[in-house]
């Protein structure tokens, strides 16, 4: 695959976090019994008229502000016409010539290196219903609960280079829409879905190759595999002297391949035109200003601030700003613990994240509140607990055995910092291990470690290993 460049553009549908539909007052909750959340507007009964949801418009403005796009003060809803049973009106209300957001960019990281991708546009539209094909009598079932759900379609420029970069962008975008509270990001429920436009070209060639659109990428892992497969397919085709046909392809996760869904010949002709049911969407300056003042600090800014304010490495700052909940947790933890921020970062990105991953919980549902984890960190900072003992206390706290101090007391886990006692234990160990002492003096560092181990054993692991080290070295060199 050398000598080729892979070019990817993503179209992402983010379901906007609203209670009601884009153009009707029906509910948008996931998982309701079929057709119980489809109103007369959603099922396209004659005589019904759409009225747009103010909250969905606000969410689109939030997104435009977050990506520093141009927020069009006047945008137009258009009809995208096609016939399919999941679309009762025979058209989808979308935006075509004048979207609500034009341009903007998203920053993301690949292997710690910063990249940016420009956005073409982001526009408001409504979702279609769902079809169920696996019915016993061979008919297709139609559930219109999802019909009319508000979506923001976010279109990137075709300037992502390869599968990994595309996935890194998609993850950053996913994090951003959740951060600013416009989408719940639930990919299993279809709240965040991507289509990828993939093409390949010879290295150094300016002209883009013919692209294929891959649909049905409902996880980041599938996205990476699908783009990789598709790029390889196109390169092999071209190297054999063939030609890439512009077409829509479907990713089949089970077979790990893409296959043709429809070719250009039967490509849809959507015949867009302005929807006569809807006047232009006109935004007022004060409305945009108001949303701007209510915007949270954005992930980029928070990451940079964490690195600066708490003197954290870029990696830690990145992990701690993976979500707004994680960032909030960290700041609450630092505040409650009143100890070195790096210690807080280590425990949140280490033990806490590992425990959350294992329990498959988001940080917002952590079994340890920032205040309770802070209780543990205080005992590390004041020398009561060694790192190893602290992990034991952490596990007990996670298992619900109580607060840090309570567990330390109950398990007798207080670190021995009584220097007289340690001196005595060191003397005992030295006296009964003449061989190791001799080896150490002959230059065998291993012997020293064995002596430390013996002292730690004598304290049942409750001594500070550093203190033991110091005392041992002093006595051995004396």
């Amino acid at each position: 695959m050398t000598g080729w460049e892979i070019v990817v553009g993503l179209e992402t549908h983010a379901q906007l976090a609203t209670r009601s539909k884009m153009f009707s007052g029906a509910a948008t909750a996931f998982g309701a019994p079929p057709n119980t959340q489809a109103s007369a507007v959603d099922i396209a009964l004659p005589g019904t008229l759409p009225v747009a949801n103010a909250k969905a418009v606000e969410h689109a403005i939030r997104f435009g502000l977050a990506v520093k796009g141009q927020i069009n003060r006047r945008s137009i809803f258009a009809r995208k016409n096609y016939f399919y049973p999941d679309l009762p009106k025979g058209y989808q209300i979308s935006q075509y010539e004048l979207p609500i957001v034009a341009g903007g960019e998203v920053k993301f990281f690949v292997d710690g290196e910063e990249r940016r991708v420009r956005l073409t546009r982001a526009h408001l539209e409504e979702d279609a219903g769902k079809l169920l094909h696996e019915l016993s009598h061979g008919m297709t079932g139609v559930d219109l609960n999802r019909a009319g759900t508000p979506l923001l379609e976010i279109v990137s420029e075709p300037e992502l280079r390869g599968a990994r970069e595309a996935v890194a962008y998609a993850r950053a975008l996913h994090g951003l829409v959740m951060w600013i509270g416009i989408c719940d990001g639930n990919m299993q429920e279809g709240s965040f879905r991507c289509d990828a436009n993939v093409s390949v070209k010879r290295a150094g060639e300016n002209k883009l190759g013919t692209r294929c659109e891959i649909k049905n990428l409902n996880s980041f892992r599938f996205m990476e595999r699908a783009i990789e497969f598709e790029a390889r397919r196109q390169i092999e085709l071209l190297e054999e002297g063939g030609k890439v046909e512009q077409e829509t392809r479907l990713y089949d996760a089970e077979r790990d391949e893409t296959r043709s869904m429809r070719t250009k010949e039967d490509a849809h002709d959507y015949r867009y035109f302005p929807d006569p049911d809807l006047l232009p969407l006109v935004l007022r300056e004060e409305q945009i200003r108001k949303i701007e003042t209510e915007m949270p600090e954005l992930p980029d800014a928070t990451r940079e601030r964490f690195a600066r304010q708490y003197a954290l490495p870029a990696y830690d700052a990145g992990v701690l700003t993976a979500s707004r909940a994680a960032a909030g947790y960290f700041e609450a933890l630092v505040k409650a613990a009143g100890v070195d921020a790096k210690l807080c970062a280590n425990w949140q990105t280490g033990a806490l994240n590992a425990a959350l991953n294992e329990a498959d919980l988001p940080v917002s549902e952590s079994k340890l509140s920032p205040a309770s984890l802070a209780g543990l960190l205080k005992r590390i900072a004041d020398g009561t607990l060694s790192g190893k003992m602290a992990k034991e206390v952490f596990d007990a706290m996670w298992a619900g055995e109580g607060g840090a101090d309570e567990i330390i007391e109950k398990r007798g886990l207080r670190q021995i910092s009584d220097s007289a006692l340690i001196e005595k234990l060191v003397d005992d160990v030295l006296a009964s291990n003449a061989k190791q002492v001799e080896d150490y003096r002959a230059g065998k560092e291993k012997a020293f470690n064995s002596l430390v181990g013996q002292v730690m054993k004598a304290t049942k692991g409750k001594a500070d290993p550093e203190q033991v080290n110091r005392v041992l070295r002093r006595k051995l060199s004396g």
């Binding site: 209670r19 007052g25 079929p34 109103s39 009225v51 079932g141 006109v282």
Partner: protein, 99 residues
Amino acid sequence: MSLSHDQIRRIARLARIAIRPEESEAALERLNRVLGLIDEMRAVDTSGIEPMAHPLEAHLPGGQRLRPDQVVEPGQPQIYQSVAPAVEDGLYLVPKVVE
């Protein structure tokens, strides 16, 4: 500008309207008349005039009204599905479609 029979077939297909071959000529003539009217309107000099997206735009410069994000319409599938040709377990049934 005028249409060909091939274009009539394509437009009919896109609109899911069945036009029999013997109807094609009449459809062609009627659609060409509409296009003729559009050509006539094109003769008007509209340079420097910004196109409207909606006929009422000039009267309603504030644009469309929005509604607050509230659930005010309960689903009433029993009523809506009473006129559906086929229903099962709350689903509307249609002939099998596979894309």
